[in-house]
């Protein structure tokens, strides 16, 4: 017969203000099997835990119940405490009388009665607990990084620095992300390529880092330590092993198309690398527009390639690899301003966005570093920047501040002036948010030294007159209406989640918020973790971030991932499903309902008939102990360790048997 000890916590006044803890302990003494019960101010404190261990010895206790807060907070604490007292850690139950009782009630008497019932349930269960042993699974010492922007690149470098392997899966033909599009970066104005390309090269050359560009994650199963991931490597139609990036193919390709990387301001070919410093420096064939693929004509690239690297027959390949941890680094996209009628519904060619402007500033960009009007290619001398487009607009855009557009607008106004000191820069703003190291000073400089004109107010209308853009807005500081005839308008559009964010979140079992941004496990204390153990976040996929913040989170996420990988094996909770093969009829209804794919079919030889037959088998590393199979199993062959039928029915009986007697 189990000898149970009950410990009732006050949690300061969190519990004791609403629940009569002394009474709860007193009554618990009368429950079957309870040999000792007491209350204490803070059970989780060191003296509280010492008390448990002391009483175990003194009263020869074999089972422990702590009536306190939620198991999600302190179950682990008291399991360890139970173990330290010399008992199996699963000879412990937690009765939640705080979140499920004292915090949600105010009638002290009623709350006390409810707390008594909760404790009673726990004592009824703990008496029937089986000793469980923690098992361990080996850890796959490799990190998957989804997205090869600056955040994914930095994460890979840090993982490799710690001696672990990393794989970057990048959707585009090259890594680099948005940063590769920029000319210079705020607030120090160092050239983006000069600080980014060395990192791209490092990633490419590292023995520990593997790059899958032009690839996408298709399916993720498994569990921390052992994620099984299917990756689709889209057909490049170019053999990466043979190509040396000489460029003969794209020089000779006759098809000219708008370049997405250049925001359609420049052209690319049907076989192309998105930008000169691309990593890997291997082109892809755009199958939609290639003449050979569509009409069986042309075929020039294959003819001219000196290395016979072109392979029109190449097909998509789906590979499967295992990873110990996953870092999500998929970045952001830009808000589509064409919903704004006042800015011309995206119809005016010379109303552009910050990313267009970045490409124009870039000396290796489509305009060779000249700021021009996209409509006629003439130099743009008068440029109006409009901030908060799609940000801070609950009605039509995103409710949040995108955090860095104030800064990149200031940078762009400055660079405009540097490119052409005669140029005029006007910036319409709501207010300036420049809360970063040296940021405020930077914005001041742009106004004072570079003479950018800052106007506090919104633009009500942009229209065309005689081929020029008329920008009409208000300056709320001088209280006047302003009309500027501009060559070019640059909208600082909001940074938003990528269109496929939800699909990816569902694949990884991670939550996202109302704006489709991935949600961290805790906004303050677990900013790069997710609620799914082993999946981490970095960069702008979580919220708008500038490069310093992106790099910081990338390093943080890789430290967390490496921390996991530094273990030889990871403990898995033994509270999982167990199949009694004697009873199992092999119908596999359980396999249908298991959300984690933890049930497989196994062939056994029947003990009685000596015939072969199928039964269900649980993969311990995949089972989460949710219990879905438990309820689906018709013959009742599946039980859940830690929540066995015997335990649950024992609880129900304890409440119903003599209801009211001891009240």
């Amino acid at each position: 017969m189990a000898r149970i000890g009950v410990f009732v916590c006050h949690c300061g006044t969190n519990i004791s203000a609403t629940v009569d803890v002394k009474k709860v302990a007193e009554i618990a003494k009368g429950f079957p099997g309870v040999k000792f019960a007491t209350d204490y101010r803070y059970m989780c404190s060191e003296p509280g835990q010492d008390l448990i261990q002391k009483m175990v010895k003194e009263h020869n206790l074999t089972r422990i119940v702590v009536a306190a807060c939620s198991p999600s907070l302190h179950e682990k604490t008291f399991r360890t405490c139970t173990q330290n007292a010399g008992l199996n850690p699963y000879f412990f139950e937690m009765a939640n009388i705080r979140e499920q009782c004292s915090w949600v009630h105010d009638d002290r008497e009623e709350a006390t009665l409810k707390a008594i019932d909760i404790v009673k349930l726990a004592t009824a269960k703990v008496g029937k607990n089986n000793p469980l042993q923690t098992t361990f699974i080996p850890v796959e010492k490799k990190v998957l990084i989804i997205g090869g922007g600056i955040s994914g690149i930095q994460a890979a470098i840090d993982v490799a620095f710690n001696g672990f392997k990393a794989v970057i899966v990048e959707r585009e033909p090259s890594i680099g992300g948005r940063m590769a599009m920029f000319d210079k970066t705020f607030p120090t104005l160092d050239c983006a390529a000069c600080i980014l390309t060395p990192k791209m090269v490092e990633v490419n050359q590292s023995d520990l880092i593997k790059l899958y560009t032009y690839s996408e994650v298709e399916e993720v199963s498994g569990y921390v330590g052992n994620f099984k991931v299917k990756i689709r490597r889209k057909a490049r139609l170019v053999d990466e092993n043979k190509c040396n990036g000489c460029g003969t193919c794209w020089q000779r390709c006759p098809v000219r198309l708008p370049s997405e990387f250049d925001m359609n301001l420049g052209k690319r070919k049907a076989i192309y690398v998105p930008f000169p410093q691309a990593v890997p420096n291997v082109p892809v064939i755009d199958q939609k527009h290639c003449l050979y693929i569509n009409k069986k004509k042309c075929g020039i690239c294959k003819k001219v390639c000196p290395f016979e690297a072109i392979d029109y027959e190449q097909e998509d390949e789906v590979i499967e690899e295992q990873f110990g941890a996953i870092i999500v680094a998929t970045g952001f996209t830009m808000f589509d301003h064409s919903i704004y009628g006042e800015y011309g519904y995206g119809k005016y060619k010379n109303v552009t966005t910050g990313l267009h402007f970045e490409r124009m500033l870039n000396s290796s960009g489509p305009t060779g570093g000249k700021i021009v009007r996209p409509s006629d290619g003439k130099e743009a001398k008068k440029v109006v920047f409009i901030q908060c487009v799609g940000s801070r607009d609950e009605a039509r855009g995103m409710p949040y501040c995108s955090r860095l557009c104030c800064m990149y607008t200031a940078k762009q106004a400055l660079l405009l002036k540097e490119h052409n000191p005669e140029a005029e820069a006007y910036v319409f703003y709501i207010d300036i948010r420049a809360a970063g190291k040296n940021y405020e000073e930077f914005v001041e400089r742009v106004q004072d030294e570079y003479g950018a004109t800052y106007l506090r107010g919104r633009v009500s209308k942009i229209f065309q007159r005689n081929g020029r853009l008329m920008v009409r807005g208000c300056d709320t500081l001088s209280g006047t209406q302003i009309e500027i005839d501009a060559d070019l308008v640059v909208l600082a559009t909001a940074l938003i989640a990528r269109p496929d964010a939800i699909k990816l979140a569902q694949m990884l079992h991670i939550p996202y918020d109302q704006n489709r941004l991935f949600t961290e496990a805790h906004p303050k204390l677990a900013p790069v973790e997710t609620v799914t153990t082993g999946v981490f976040l970095t960069g702008a996929c979580q919220s708008p971030k500038d490069i310093p913040d992106t790099v910081a989170t990338a390093s943080a996420a890789s430290v967390k991932a490496c921390g996991l990988l530094s273990h030889e094996k990871l403990p898995i909770d033994p509270q999982i499903a167990r199949v009694d093969v004697e009873i199992c009829s092999g119908c596999l209804a359980c396999k249908e309902v298991c959300p984690f794919g933890a049930i497989e079919k196994e062939e056994i030889v029947d003990r009685v008939t000596q015939q072969k037959r199928w039964v269900a088998k649980v993969a311990p590393s995949l089972c989460n102990g949710c219990g879905a199979c438990n309820t689906a199993c018709r013959p009742g062959a599946i039980d859940l360790d830690g929540f066995t039928e015997e335990q649950i029915f024992g609880q129900i009986e304890s409440l119903t048997a003599d209801k009211g007697n001891e009240r």
Partner: protein, 292 residues
């Protein structure tokens, strides 16, 4: 034949007689029977909603109730301001049960809620259809260059009006194209003309309506098409004054879309009451459309 309740509002019985005349003629031709609401009252327009919110809702509601009592399911209001007030009143009462009760008390009748409020443009485009209008056209507009001006009330606020685009509306432009005219793209379709400041702060109207005329002219317009009596009167009546202040000749006839439609359907200028305009359209129309 389609039957709708007709709410002319004060302007169409006074300064905008020609809008009333041309609308009625056009409807007859297109097979729409208009039944004027008996004993309708003023919608309250701007004065009501700057003085009493309740009044500004109760007045339109009274007209909606009268229309409902006629047993019809649609009321049509050609004046953009009336149209706007009727729509707003209907929506506010539907969304605010306290207001609904107050209105009921004031009017002594349960407030209307079922009747649909439409602008003539909606009836012509949504119910008759441009295809039918095009088929019935007897006199093509011969590429007449038209700047369609919608004003600020006809399509806004979008959450209440729920008709056409609030920044770049197209319905009148589509009508012009269907009739064989050239619908000019321009940017001042929904700018404010100064509205009722015409009497109290005339300078504002000179400024705002002046800009509209100027943009239309720059866009190459030969005339401006409107769907609101107040817009019409500001652009037409004040045009001489604006010309003087700006030192620039506009000479832009300001036509109701019903007038142009009437001409296209084969009616004469005299029938449509076109002589009532200040800027005389007859020269342009005679020259371009050979009408009398």
């Amino acid at each position: 034949m389609m039957k709708v309740a007709y709410y002319p509002g004060c302007s169409l019985h006074s300064t905008a007689r020609e809008y009333d005349i041309s609308f009625q003629l056009v409807c007859r031709k297109l097979g729409i029977e208009l039944q004027e609401i008996p004993h309708w009252v003023c919608c309250g327009s701007s004065p009501a909603h700057v003085t009493s919110h309740l009044l500004s809702i109760a007045l339109p509601c009274k007209n909606l109730i009268l229309a409902e009592e006629m047993g019809l399911d649609t009321v049509v209001a050609p004046c953009a301001a009336c149209f706007n007030r009727l729509k707003i009143a209907k929506q506010e009462v539907a969304e605010d049960s306290k207001l609904k009760k107050e209105v009921q008390e004031v009017l002594g009748k349960p407030s209307a809620g079922k009747i649909e409020v439409k602008h003539p443009l909606q009836v012509i485009i949504e119910d008759v259809g441009l295809k039918k209008v095009e088929e019935m056209t007897r006199r093509k507009l011969q590429g007449l260059r038209v700047a369609s001006y919608y004003g600020c009330l006809l399509v806004r606020p979008p959450s209440v009006i729920n008709f056409d685009d609030p920044e770049d509306p197209q319905s009148m432009d589509n009508l012009v194209s269907a009739l064989g005219g050239e619908a000019l793209p321009w940017a001042f379709k929904t700018e404010c003309c100064g509205a009722s400041f015409s009497l109290s702060e005339t300078d504002i109207v000179f400024e705002l309506s002046g800009e509209i005329l100027n943009e239309a002219l720059e866009a190459g317009a030969e005339c401006i098409l409107v769907a609101c009596p107040l817009c019409q009167s500001n652009l037409d009546l004040r045009q001489k004054g604006i010309e003087k202040r700006r030192g620039k000749k506009f000479n832009l006839p300001i036509l109701y879309f019903t007038e142009l439609l009437g001409l296209a359907l084969g009616m004469s200028m005299r029938q449509l009451g076109l002589s009532r305009h200040i800027v005389n359209p007859s020269k342009l129309l005679e020259r371009k459309l050979a009408v009398t």
